[in-house]
Amino acid sequence: MAGNQKQEKSEEQYQKKVDQVTPKPPLLKNLLWAFVVGGLICTLGQFILNYFVDLGLSKKDAAGAAGAVLIFLSAFFTGLGVYDELGKRAGAGSIVPITGFANSIVAPAMEFKREGYVFGIGAKMFVIAGPVLVYGMLTAFIIGLLHWLLH
């Protein structure tokens, strides 16, 4: 018992020491990059959305189509090996938009191609994005259920 407490105490002390000497991320720079790149990607999305609305799609369908175009662009730039360069500078600005979701699907698909089409590309495609789908669908199910029960 006492041994465990002593161990915990020295761990706490060491963690404190580590926190003191650990360099902090350049917050202002990161926030600025996230804001600008995230904003630009969304603005691009808006352009594409407007284009589809002009073509006659409903707002909802246009949003879906615009999303698909952004997904294509993100997949393409991931394939070229450029998206990771953007990601390391833009942080959340490239991860949070739907383009980040696409990157997280294309990157493992490319990486694990060397392990074949079934066990590589096929099995590993959702290794990073999987949780987003699982918990998104779970949320939709629970809220849907509540909606059905209450209405």
């Binding site: 761990e11 650990t22 902090k24 991320p25 350049p26 990771d84 990157a107």
Partner: protein, 334 residues
């Protein structure tokens, strides 16, 4: 004569000689601080092989063949090969050993594998169990990223504390006879874990193990830090290095005058490696390309090399475990 020193150290009665070394690295290392010291710099990280892992396998095989060549020896004269890397099931090492065809013992000490192989290899030589031993380690940035962290084309932002896994291989030939610096003592480390959980914070996770092994080494051998011209740790990075100095200071021992970390000696600031280099090859390429020639020339007469390894796995991290670490020390003297 008893060769065990104190609680966990060894004094070699017939200190084995390091008769040659060799290094091969990727382009990023080839543009770093030790650019002119490597035997070969690859043009890219894959060298026309079908995968990162196959490229790493090529590197470690190349490094061993080169070290044998520089030793004016042949592979047949090598009694045993001791080697390891960072990949699951030592993938890169095993396929290289398949080509080399010599008796082989695989080692996993994560980034402490160079020191571990030097320690065990020296024991085999000192005990008269071999005349000539080849040791080698390798690591590959992209192979390690894909196994431990993320697919290489994913847009990730690395925190400033993170370190960059070295792409490269370092090897050495240890002989019972010949000219060169000798491995005189060694200290076997224990697994130390002070509760660091974040694999991005590897340097600080390993620092307590390095300090523990250094302390044991000094106690077992009766030496003080100034016995050595320089003390080196394998890959603690900028932050880990500072923590070792602090941890030793707490024990009343000042190492700040003659201590450096190999992970701080590989990349230039502009290369954006953040806290420094890591990987088996961090100590591997720094020792084999830079420290060994200095020892041979006599610019360095006595060094202590402390290889440091973080022994976590992607599974242990996901199971919310902290990172157990180990450090092994070898003293090399002219």
């Amino acid at each position: 004569m008893k060769k065990k020193l104190g609680s966990q150290s060894i004094r070699f009665e017939q200190p084995p000689i390091i008769t040659s070394t060799a290094t091969i690295v990727g382009p990023m290392e080839g543009e770093g601080l030790l650019a002119n010291f490597f035997d070969y710099v690859m043009a890219d990280n894959i060298n026309n092989y079908a995968s990162w892992e196959k490229c790493e396998s090529y590197m470690i095989e190349w490094a061993i063949r080169k070290a044998v060549e520089k030793d004016n020896s042949t592979l047949e004269n090598v009694d045993y090969i001791l080697a390891g890397d960072l990949l699951n099931q030592l993938m890169a090492t095993h396929f290289a050993m398949r080509s080399l065809g010599r008796p082989f013992l695989g080692l996993y000490g994560a980034c402490s594998t160079l020191a571990e192989s030097m320690l065990i290899g020296s024991t085999l030589l000192d005990g008269g169990f071999a005349e000539k031993i080849a040791i080698a380690v390798s690591s590959h940035h992209d192979a390690a990223e894909r196994q431990y962290r993320f697919p290489t084309e994913m847009g990730v932002q690395r925190p400033p504390i993170s370190q960059w896994t070295v792409t490269g291989s370092g090897s050495a030939i240890l002989s019972a006879m010949g000219e060169g610096p000798r491995v005189t003592t060694a200290t076997v480390g224990r697994v130390i874990d002070l509760g660091i959980k974040d694999p991005n914070v590897m340097g600080p996770a390993m620092a307590p193990a390095a300090a523990d092994t250094l302390l044991c080494h000094l106690n077992d051998t009766g030496r003080t830090p100034d016995y050595y011209d320089m003390i080196y740790t394998g890959d603690l990075g900028k932050v880990g290095k500072q923590l070792v100095i602090d941890l030793m200071q707490e024990k009343g021992i000042n190492v700040s005058a003659n201590y450096e970390d190999c992970g701080c000696m590989v990349y230039r600031e502009e290369q954006d490696a953040h806290s420094g280099a890591s990987g088996c090859a961090s100590s591997g390429i720094v020792f084999a390309s830079y420290l060994y020639p200095l020892l041979k020339k006599g610019d360095l007469k006595k060094i202590l090399l402390i290889g440091t390894g973080s022994l976590h796995s992607p599974t242990s991290y996901q199971q919310k475990e902290s990172i157990p670490c180990i450090a092994h020390a070898v003293s090399i003297e002219q």
